[in-house]
Symmetry: C2
């Protein structure tokens, strides 16, 4: 393919993407395929000789698209949004075209410097403490783009681990490092993202999952008690991960209360704002920054809720040296003359190499302006409020947690299995897709506003899918309950032992009304 | 920006990339900027209102391009190549356009399944042991695309750590985990990539850097001795990272010899073939697979040497359960009905979310065919041989290590500082860019073939830059040496104590001939 063909194919690819996004509502939101479907469709060996562009694109159409879960579909309300915009796609294309790898300042100064500027811009847009921003005069703060929130939490935990171990080493200089490691304890709420637990596994530290209050928020006093108990046992608390917008229910931990304990006890406080952190660009959400004077590191994902394509998770630290101390390895082939006066982002991350990810932030922020991005956030919050109103009007349903951002957690009143059946039915319909959460054992369905341009019509349509399926679930339950009641009366007359079992079933009120899934509905 | 504008801008962006790649030789390969240059050029706050496409692209032209180190420049011979091709750019564009995140099978079945198929294709193209391939009937093997080789090494070390600790736990069930951790030792050669040491830091395990032989290759006997010494001390060897194509000099460790020791001692053998592993697609390099029957995990980077854009590092494991055991955390919002029969790649990696990276492998392999990719690898090796011949013809230079792939390590005969001066001069010229390596204290310049379509003319041009700068370095040295000699004679006549210092200088034969860098040459 020469340059001319490339230009032609790029325009065609853009047309393909346009058509896909335009016609996306014609697809099932989740595909009707079973594991292994693609292996059955495609050759099991790579071709020896080149194949035509047309054959590849027709395979995309015929074999890939029918096997996608369509995250940009108006009926997609699962997980959190996958950020997307034309501006971001074009910036990524430029990053690929330039074909540079920016692990150190010297490896491509513009890559490093635009990244620093973008994390500074974003920090100002969000009102973060000045000391965390890279361009604050005389500060030790700084920021970096990581691939994912998982990596942000992990590197911050590693930085905190290194700092805590150094401090312990001063007190116990002759103790084996692993013995000191065995004393460290990390804290996070039971609603924290699974990646925090994964980070603790990798960092090989003890951890406590703290209970939350009625709003699923982790409070300072809860942390204080846990820390005191551990200190009494001779352990060394070192790290807390608070969340702004938990994955399950979008709850916000009490950063201020947690922060006070962290400050008193010399714990590293990291705040994970992967999704909800984006809302900080709107002044009406700035109250979430309460307690940020105690925060040592913070991350959020523009690739979730700022129209930037994955991957792009932005992270700040109050003390960049604490981070780089934990991650620096400096072989000669990576050294350069300007090390003392520049940033080498490879010492801020686990991967060495990195793409030119700041380009997509730059393009998106400039193409929309801060006001355009605020409008986008507000449109999602408005649609969540709209959905909340629909749910609250229907007495069969209830909402758990507060609706603050773009997520609503709802359920059918009654036992969990009703809502479980409802969710299974919704997902089998192919018209909407949602995933569950378990809030202290209560099963809820998460309705996340995900479409880049969500409308009342989308919300109404999804609500239609939910209510029509709820009717089936409730009707089937009535049928089953009625049948059980009849059986119960009959057996009671005959004094058989079986009614006890039936009574149990009735009490549980939770028969699986659907039976095994019909094969045609399997995803 | 609407869909129509997007198509137009995509074509323009393709034209921009074409022009950039066509005119790239007009740029200095490394830019003439100093740290902080971009902050001085761009606004320090994000715009409130949207800005025009034209203003963004003109800033790219005026502020970004002049600050790039141009990895696709014909004079770029630093590090290793950054893979690039039109096919890969277009596939990435499609990935962005689809805007899906594939952390589990259910999150987008096509993403997971194309990835599995691509690692199977690649494994067959490279002749890897069948037991490591995902589609081998009844096998436990599997593969995954990671973001970088650093992550591959880390997750394999974590898998080995979990396995070793489980085994120790069976023998010492009451011992504290951290005490068991303190026994573990990882082994890798002094030439292994810095990311292996970083992984050991993160995994918090002891490590031994093993010496290498005359070919910079780490031998089985060296490992055996180190392991025996550690076992005698009561330590528990658990992991070895061998390298095919070290970063410094592209040496290959003795996988077979290391493997035998690993097999006898129950150590996890990981092979890092980040760059040179790509050559396995050519039958003439298959000898590198000797000893792979002992290999537990292997990775290589198509984003280095297979025309695939960063990021794309492919990794295989012989026992996928050993990997997922170490990395799985399974919250309800990520669970799905097909878990038992499908792959959830989030349990194979550190990040949760992932891009549709297999698309670029699929596009590139099909657009070039296996034969086209082999031809590409061979063209790089041929150019390295060509460069080697030029160096060998010039008696002022010498080559260290074997020239097997696309890398040549050369130096001026004599003390290190001559070659150091030469490299500084070459990089200051802006006409070629190389980085050094230190091979047991001997300073060499690494000449890596990096251009996607390298020609004899490129090689000749770079050789011209090298030799003309070498002449200056050698001439300046002669001048300095002559001056010193004269001073020495003069002082000797006067019986001053100063000639001793001058004599020392002469003996070292290593004056810095350039003095402090002139400001205009600073990068």
């Amino acid at each position: 393919m020469d340059g001319e063909a490339f230009s032609r194919r790029a325009a065609e690819m853009a047309d393909f993407i346009n058509r896909y996004l335009r016609d996306i509502k014609e697809y099932r939101v989740t595909p009707a395929v079973t594991p292994g479907y693609l292996h059955r469709l495609l050759p099991s060996e790579a071709p020896r000789r080149p194949e035509s562009w047309e054959s590849i694109m027709s395979d995309v159409e015929d074999t890939i698209l029918p096997g996608m879960t369509h995250w940009q579909h108006p009926g997609f309300h699962a997980y959190f949004p996958a950020g997307n915009s034309y501006a971001s796609i074009l910036a990524d294309m430029l990053s690929d075209g330039l074909g540079c790898i920016g692990f150190s300042w010297a490896a491509s100064p513009a890559m490093t410097e635009l990244e620093t500027l973008m994390v500074d811009w974003l920090g100002r847009m969000m009102g973060l403490p000045k000391e965390m921003l890279p361009y604050t005069e005389g500060g030790n703060g700084g920021g970096v783009i990581q691939g994912s929130a998982s990596e942000c939490t992990l590197v911050c935990m590693l930085a905190a681990r290194a700092k805590a171990l150094n401090e312990l080493k001063e007190i116990y200089p002759d103790e084996e490092d692993c013995v000191l490691l065995s004393k460290l304890v990390a804290y996070f709420s039971e609603e924290a993202h699974s990646s925090v637990e994964k980070a603790a596994n990798i960092a090989f530290v003890k951890r406590r999952k703290l209970p939350t209050d009625a709003h699923y928020s982790c409070r300072g006093e809860t942390l204080r008690k846990a820390v005191e108990t551990d200190v009494e046992k001779g352990l060394v608390p070192f790290f807390v991960c608070a969340t702004i917008g938990t994955t399950g229910v979008c709850a916000c931990d009490d950063v201020e209360g947690l922060g006070r304990v962290c400050s008193e006890r010399n714990l590293w406080l990291h705040v994970d704002g992967a999704y909800s952190g984006n809302a900080l660009i709107c002044p009406e959400f700035r109250y979430l920054l309460r307690g940020f004077q105690y925060v040592k590191s913070f991350n959020f994902n523009p690739n979730k809720w700022m129209m930037v394509n994955f991957d792009c998770s932005v992270m700040w630290v109050r003390d960049k040296h604490a981070l780089t101390n934990a991650l620096t390895v400096n072989p000669i082939y990576l050294q350069h003359d300007n090390e003392a006066h520049s940033i080498d982002y490879r010492n801020w991350t686990i991967p060495l190499s990195r793409r030119f990810r700041s380009l997509k932030l730059w393009f998106v922020i400039r193409m929309y302006g801060v006001e355009g991005l605020q409008q986008y956030i507000r449109s999602h919050v408005a649609m969540a409020k709209r959905f909340e109103a629909l749910v609250r009007r229907d007495a069969r349903f209830e909402i758990l947690g507060d609706v603050v951002f773009g997520l609503v957690c709802f359920r059918l009143k009654g036992p969990n299995n009703l809502t479980e059946s409802l969710l299974r039915r919704i997902n089998q319909s192919g018209k909407a897709h949602m995933v569950p959460a378990s809030l202290r054992g209560t099963f809820v369905i998460r309705f996340a506003v995900c479409h880049p341009d969500p409308t009342e019509e989308h919300v109404q349509q999804t609500w239609g899918v939910i209510t029509s399926n709820a009717e089936c679930v409730l009707f089937e339950r009535e049928v089953v309950v009625e049948k059980l009641r009849r059986l119960f009366s009959k057996y009671k007359e005959n004094r058989s032992r079986r009614p006890i079992r039936i009574l149990g079933e009735l009490k549980k009120n939770c028969i699986e009304p659907l039976g095994p899934h019909p094969k045609t509905c399997r995803r």
